[in-house]
């Protein structure tokens, strides 16, 4: 690799690089460090970045990120999430499941909200759990602003602060649930200032949607609330958070909801369509300007979107909004529309990924990988030669295998690349189908070797 690339690599923080290598080796999407392996996807990333500009200007956006399993949906989401956090957005993400849906009468809807709140992240709390911190930070900022304008008298500052909080939150009261939302945040501030930990904790619980009845909430909060966050209104509170995030000084709120195929799998048609109705409501709100500073990204499989019996295209209101125009030309990219279709990375892009991971691995473990360009090419050919690989191969599996190869080479200095990876050059024995792990038998630990 050239000197330019080395210079760039040297900016990878140690912890991030270590976390990145660990995640890739385990076959999971890296929570941090994803930009360093963002190969390809330039157009898709540009589309998302333009959405973020729109959101920071007060607009809303909604994208459907559709691709097969292993095509890189979750990776792209993490990529954009990391970028948004760096850009002073708040993010919240969750994966849908049979227990977490967008709509449900048995707590399935509010379970999604709770997961989102649990994973609410900011730049300095990138791993989630930022709810408490962002409120604290906001209050501190207000205190600073008031302290500059008024005298040093703490009591006057406290009164002014409360007034300022009330004023800022009053702008939210016209939104659904805004009145109670403002009241709870105000009371949280008062509880923190007076050292009332119980009420402070209760306020946080209310904001996270952990109360199921108003009675329970009232008992613990110590004041009346007209509603609790539940299945029917959690989305309204998401809009409130987006509006509040801007007032707190952030650029907006970005929500990532992955594994939407779980909605497709709902067997009961009415229940499934209720969830799709929720998606339609989100779509209309964001694109019609009724959800300021809010961006939503839904990740799902092609069946979730395109199945005309059970997918989104089976719900006419969504189909008419999301389907391709009749002038759409197959094979052409159109990233202006709400649907972003992810195809598998091309063979060259996969090879580029292998090249990148080689360098990062060497950087992390501080060693020079004994891998040539031909070796990298051969490795990829071995992967692509497997039956069904042309459509089924995923970067996840391929990188996990490659990390295994590099780890073996690193821990066994006497071994060569060709000893670990057999095949891919047309002359090798293909009886094991180029299986990387089969060759590692030679270096596998044998308990009989222990000499007592």
């Amino acid at each position: 690799m050239g000197q330019n690339e080395n210079t760039r690599l040297q900016k990878v923080p140690k912890r991030i690089l270590s976390s990145l290598i660990s995640s890739v080796s385990a076959g999971v999407v890296p929570r941090s460090g994803a930009p360093y392996i963002a190969i390809g996807r330039r157009d898709e990333i540009s589309a998302f970045l333009s959405d973020l500009e729109l959101i920071s200007d007060g607009g809303g956006s909604m994208r459907f990120l559709i691709g097969r399993y292993g095509s890189g949906k979750s990776f792209l989401m993490q990529l954009i999430r990391g970028y948004a956090l760096e850009r002073d957005f708040l993010t919240a993400d969750c994966d849908l499941s049979p227990e977490r849906r967008l709509y449900g009468s048995g707590g399935n809807g509010v379970a999604t909200y709770r997961e989102l709140m649990k994973n609410l992240a900011s730049k300095s709390s990138a791993d989630g759990g930022a709810l408490q911190k962002i409120i604290a930070k906001w209050i501190f900022q207000l205190e600073n602003e008031i302290g500059e304008d008024s005298s040093d008298d703490p009591s006057k500052i406290a009164v002014s602060l409360e007034k300022e909080i009330r004023r800022q939150l009053s702008e939210l009261e016209f939104l659904v649930g805004g009145f109670d939302f403002s009241r709870v945040i105000r009371e949280y501030y008062i509880a923190v200032r007076t050292g009332n930990d119980n009420v402070a904790a209760a306020c946080l619980r209310w904001l996270r949607g952990e109360y199921s009845t108003k009675t329970e909430a009232k008992r613990e909060l110590g004041f009346d609330v007209s509603l609790v966050i539940g299945d029917g209104n959690w989305y309204d509170f998401l809009k409130l958070w987006a509006a509040l995030s801007h007032r707190m000084g952030y650029r907006g709120l970005l929500v990532f909801i992955d594994e939407c195929v779980n909605l497709y799998k709902i067997p009961h048609r009415v229940s499934r369509e209720n969830n799709y109705e929720k998606i339609l409501s989100m779509f209309n709100d964001t694109l019609q300007g009724r959800a300021e500073y809010l961006g939503i990204v839904l990740g799902g499989t092609p069946q979730f979107l395109e199945d005309t019996r059970r997918g989104l295209f089976g719900y006419e209101a969504l189909r008419s909004r999301l389907c391709d125009s009749r002038f759409y030309v197959e094979g052409c990219k159109n990233l202006v529309g709400p649907v972003i279709r992810l195809t598998r990375l091309s063979d060259d892009e996969l090879l580029a990924l292998v090249v990148r991971m080689t360098v990062l691995h060497g950087q992390n473990f501080n060693w020079e990988p004994r891998v040539t360009e031909e070796d990298q090419l051969r490795f990829l050919k071995v992967c692509l030669e497997r039956a069904g690989a042309d459509s089924m191969i995923t970067p996840r599996e391929m990188l996990r295998d490659y990390m295994t190869v590099l780890n073996i080479l690193m821990q066994n200095p006497e071994m060569k690349f060709s000893d670990v990876v057999v095949g891919g050059d047309g002359d090798s024995d293909k009886s094991d189908n180029g299986n990387v792990s089969a060759v590692a038998e030679e270096s596998r630990f044998d308990p009989d070797d222990i000499d007592f």
Binding site: V12, P13, R68, A136, F140, E306, D347, D348, A352, V355
Partner: protein
């Protein structure tokens, strides 16, 4: 008020009767029975007495010589004879085994009570049977138990005309009471007229008027059943099968109306309707264009299995059907003389009371529906774990012939059209292309990592507004890789930590919770806010956070402990 008691009149006085002795009013001896004198038992009997009442003469009466049918001369009972109801032992009249029926054995007994109050009706019926009716205007008539004696002259004339029309195969307007009267007439003439003709007439009435009077289904289904059983007749299935499954819906003895000689369809439908816990017509998939498919093949498979049972090719119902025995009173609810009325004991093969057969049919229907769903590509299935292998084979045989499944290979290769939108573009494999892609991807990485635009840089604190007691941190080259150029990072990463923040970092290094709180309070912040601020600054320096939440306090991440120590001068 006057009361006669024992021949003595008693007068209870009202105020206006001034001749009576007022004291007698209180005399209870007047109202009590005389003592010492027993009353003789009344000799009057309460048995019914016959009263001869001739029906009115019709307006137009046929000559006595006109007869449509010949009957035995009626017997005239002596006038003013009094008959009493007598209970006697029932006597078996006949016993036989019907052919081709689910009925195994029929025993007919005489009626156990001999009453006479309908005898006159029978005599009149015999007399008027031969009278030909003439066209007359319609006259309404209503009676709960219609008899000739209740008819007026014009009603009787209309009755005769109605009867004439029915005999000719037409259905004139008729009140229900007229129809009942005719039915009673037919039933009570069963010992005087050919029974086949009576059955034909009853069938005609049923067919003509069941639409107008649905109650006929309830009554005639049982009366015709009784009539046939008593007289060893087989119902006219050719005409009655047009009723479909409604034929047996109201019948008490449903098995009587199962035509075992007919094709399997009728029997199949009866079994599916009356001997199953599962109604396929209510399936949510049996709608629209699939409905005909369901009807055709559900009936077909049951018919096929029934036919197979007949020829011994399929196992089935032999074990499922159970014999039952019932006793029934013939012509219940009808006006019937005791000579006609009978008691019938029936042994039959029951499918309505056969629980095992019910389960068999239910499982068969569910299994068949699963086959139809598989054909239609519907994945959900009904549970039918109780179906026997023999039954399954019989059903499979039918469906393999009439509704074979689409070949699996065809289904597997059928990929939805939209999948091709997600196929990768084939560009071949070239290291040069890959290297170029990898090089260009750094632009994307830079774009993603670049947290500040020009505008943002202007917001960073400058030297003018830095507080005197803050410390400027210049990152050390050891933070990054070995070949680091510190000057470049210096330019980009000059940041200011306040003394309170440095104190917080000191406390975080030693996990000093109180120290962290003090440091935060000294700058008027909450610990969370201070940690947040420090992390934001460290992101600018290191590209990563240095503090992590450890549950109530903050700790320095191990990877950056050395760097933090450098910042605080340790």
């Amino acid at each position: 008020m006057i009361q006669k008691r024992g021949g003595k009149s008693m007068t209870y006085m009202k105020n206006e009767n001034t001749n009576a002795d007022p004291e007698e009013f209180w005399d209870l001896g007047i109202v009590s029975a005389p003592k010492g004198r027993l009353r003789k038992a009344s000799e009057a009997h309460t048995s019914p007495a016959d009263m001869e009442i001739d029906p009115p003469e019709p307006a137009i009466s046929a000559p006595a010589s006109v007869r449509k049918r010949t009957y035995p001369a009626e017997e005239k009972t002596p006038e003013s004879s009094v008959r009493r109801s007598v209970t006697h032992e029932k006597m078996q009249v006949s016993e036989y085994v019907p052919d081709d029926s689910l009925i195994h054995n029929v025993k007919v007994f005489t009626w156990h009570t001999n009453y006479s109050y309908y005898e006159q009706f029978c005599r009149v019926a015999a007399r008027v049977d031969g009278i030909e009716g003439k066209p007359v205007p319609y006259v309404p008539f209503f009676s709960y138990m219609p008899q000739y004696s209740q008819l007026t002259e014009s009603q009787f004339a209309y009755y005769l005309w109605m009867r004439e029309e029915i005999r000719r195969g037409r259905a004139p307007e008729a009140d229900y009471s007229y129809i009942l009267l005719y039915i009673y007439e037919l039933i009570n003439l069963s010992d005087r007229k050919p029974v086949r003709e009576i059955l034909d007439s009853l069938t005609d009435i049923w067919i003509f008027y069941r639409g107008q009077y649905p109650r006929l289904d309830v009554q005639l289904s049982d009366w015709i059943c009784d009539f046939c059983l008593i007289n060893r007749l087989r119902p006219d299935f050719d005409r009655l099968n047009t009723f479909g499954t409604e034929l047996v819906r109201s019948a008490t003895l449903k098995e009587f109306y199962v035509d075992t000689r007919s094709g399997g369809d009728v029997r199949a439908k009866l079994l599916m309707t009356y001997c199953s816990n599962y109604d396929y017509t209510k399936s949510k998939f049996a709608t629209g264009e699939n409905r005909n498919l369901y009807v055709k093949h559900m009936t077909g498979v049951v018919s096929s299995v029934l036919e197979g049972a007949k020829t011994g090719k399929s196992p089935v119902f032999a074990s499922g059907l159970q014999d039952s025995r019932i006793s029934r009173d013939a012509y219940t609810g009808a006006l019937c003389s005791p000579k006609i009325k009978k008691r019938i004991e029936i042994e039959y093969t029951s499918f309505t009371h056969s629980h095992e057969l019910r389960f068999i049919i239910t499982d068969l229907l569910k299994y068949s529906e699963n086959r139809i769903r598989a054909y239609l590509g519907i994945k959900s299935r009904l549970s039918c774990s109780g179906i026997t292998p023999e039954m399954k084979t019989a059903a499979d045989t039918y469906f393999d012939e009439h509704l074979p499944l689409k070949s699996r290979s065809h289904n597997e290769h059928e990929i939805p059209a939209y999948e091709r939108l997600y196929e990768p573009t084939s560009t071949g494999l070239s290291y040069e292309n890959a290297a170029e892609i990898e090089k260009l991807s750094w632009d994307t990485t830079d774009k993603l990592l670049d947290a500040f635009s020009e505008t943002d840089r202007n917001d960073l604190p400058t030297d003018d507004n830095v507080v005197n007691d803050t410390v400027t941190i210049i990152p050390d080259a050891q933070i990054f890789g070995a070949d680091e150029d510190p000057s470049e990072t210096e330019k980009e990463n000059d940041t200011v930590f306040t003394h309170e923040e440095l104190s917080f970092l000191v406390a975080a290094l030693s996990l000093d919770v109180i120290g962290q709180k003090k440091a935060a309070e000294s700058s008027g912040q909450l610990p969370d806010a201070m940690a947040d601020t420090i992390n934001e600054k460290s992101l600018d320096i290191l590209g990563d956070m240095v503090l992590e939440d450890v549950g109530g306090s903050y700790s320095v991440i191990d990877d950056y402990a050395d760097e933090v120590k450098q910042w605080i001068g340790l």
